[in-house]
Amino acid sequence: MDQAQVIKRTARPRRGSLVTPIRVATLLGLWALWEAVAASGLLFRDVVPSSTKVVAALATLLVSPDFYYNLELTVAEVLVSLVLGASAGVAAGLALGAARFAGKAFEPYLHYLAPTPKIVFLPILLVLFGVGPGSKIAMGTLSCFFPMALSVATGVREVDAVLLRVGRSFNLSLAQTIRKIYLPSLVPPIATGLRLGLGVAIIGCLLAEIKMSNRGLGFIIMQDYAQFRIPAMYAALIAAFAIAGLGNALVSRFVRLPGGGS
């Protein structure tokens, strides 16, 4: 259901092959197509602006203190969401994975609720937490919780039974079993949950900002849209995608560190 399922098998480009020239040629072709559409006047003026205008708008955005002021809030919202959603997800995943009966009773609800569009809960979150950062953090937390909980629950069930039996024979307490057996074995699923959770937390926070806010990167995008500053809107979108990509790359790097990860 999650993106890991979709992207788990991707080809690695072979060295010394035609891959790089093909990719460069494709990018050049797409750029030429973009410029041709921009120059053609087929769409309303500036709907597809020339790439030079977008680059100029991106440069303006990147030197603007206003951008960093808004970016700071968005990054803070995402990080708090990630901490809250991941903590709750790990706790729920441990509980559901370790107790077979609880897993059978409650995990189907998590499994089926996970892919529902979380954005529809935004009106409730706005009522509960207001239009400030609280509702954005709640949105990000809600989005992040499900991939983490499901990933950890699956991970717990895959913990080596021999280790658990050894733990029992040494009379380990529940806390010791969690600390000494479960958590070290759960590094890869937690890391996978973090990667998936970060992606959806970023989307959740940004969508909530776009829908209703007075600060943040999503707010910048919506302001540019409302005032028809299209090159600036493209620049803000590029920045948002770059941040999402950077976040994903950082977590993926972290995923590889502990021991192979996913």
Binding site: V6, I7, V48, Y112, T116, V120, L122, G199, L206, Y225
Partner: protein, 254 residues
């Protein structure tokens, strides 16, 4: 007695339902006792009572149909475009090497954030919703089609060749049946992604079916009906995922 219940096949499902019933009762009590304002979270009975109005006055079922049709159209386009693309990436090794990672990156990209851009290009209408949802569903179909075709055992094709089957015969009689389960998984994922995207974009642009209804009700502060509509969306999604999952399993086992 308790041990016999715990051993019963239905015990986990009944326990899950009992917890939901207990939570609903707790919610009802919290509202009745004034711990939770009816304006913030109306009691479950109030939400249930709003359903007739949701159906008659707000056209819940027509909106459901609209959302479903938009999702179906987006997913159908994704299948029409995605399966040949997956086949192309499988059959042309250079294309697979050059573009498969791009498609995977595209699958992970937060495409929904681009909706202001699509609004500018296509306007606030169903085209924006369908095009964005098509793009959201497409990578899953492409990647799963390629995965299915890549995963066919070489020996099957060699057996086909030893029987002197032509290339189209090998495709229709060996490759396609072998790849169908994985392709179906891609189609199911595409349909699910399309539905999520359609509801989300309807909500964001305040246009269309169920997503628009929730946004509309929130703006009119019809809290009970808003909760009812959200409940309906969640229920619809859960039923949809359940049915498609069962269908996929059925196809896999045939």
């Amino acid at each position: 007695m308790a041990a016999a219940f715990a051993r019963s096949r239905f015990a986990p499902a009944l326990t899950g339902l009992a917890l939901i019933a207990a939570l609903l009762a707790l919610w009802q009590a919290a509202v009745a006792l004034g711990f939770v304002s009816n304006l913030v979270a109306p009691a479950p009975t109030t939400i249930a009572a709003s359903f007739p109005a949701l159906i008659e006055e707000e056209g819940l079922l027509q909106r459901f149909l609209q959302t479903f049709l938009e999702a179906f159209a987006a997913a159908s386009f994704a299948v029409l475009v995605g399966t040949p693309l997956g086949w192309w990436l499988h059959s042309k090794r250079w294309a697979g090497s050059a573009y498969e990672n791009w498609v995977a990156t595209f699958a992970a990209a937060p495409l929904v954030l681009l909706y202001p851009l699509f609004l500018v290009i296509f306007g606030r209408n169903a085209v924006t919703i369908v095009v964005m949802s098509f793009l959201t569903a497409l990578p899953a179909v492409v990647l799963k089609t390629k995965e299915g075709l890549d995963g066919i055992k070489r020996v099957f094709i060699n057996v086909g060749r030893s029987f002197r089957l032509t290339q189209p015969q090998i495709f229709w009689k060996i490759m396609l049946p072998a790849a169908v389960p994985t392709i179906c998984n891609g189609v199911r994922l595409g349909l699910i992604y399309a539905l999520i995207s359609v509801v989300g974009i309807e909500f964001l642009i305040n246009f269309g079916g169920l997503g628009e209804l929730i946004d509309d009700l929130a703006q009119r502060w019809e809290i009970a009906m808003e909760f009812g509509a959200i409940f309906f969306v969640v229920l619809t999604s859960v039923c949809f995922f359940y049915i498609t999952e069962k269908l996929e399993r059925w196809i896999r086992h045939r």
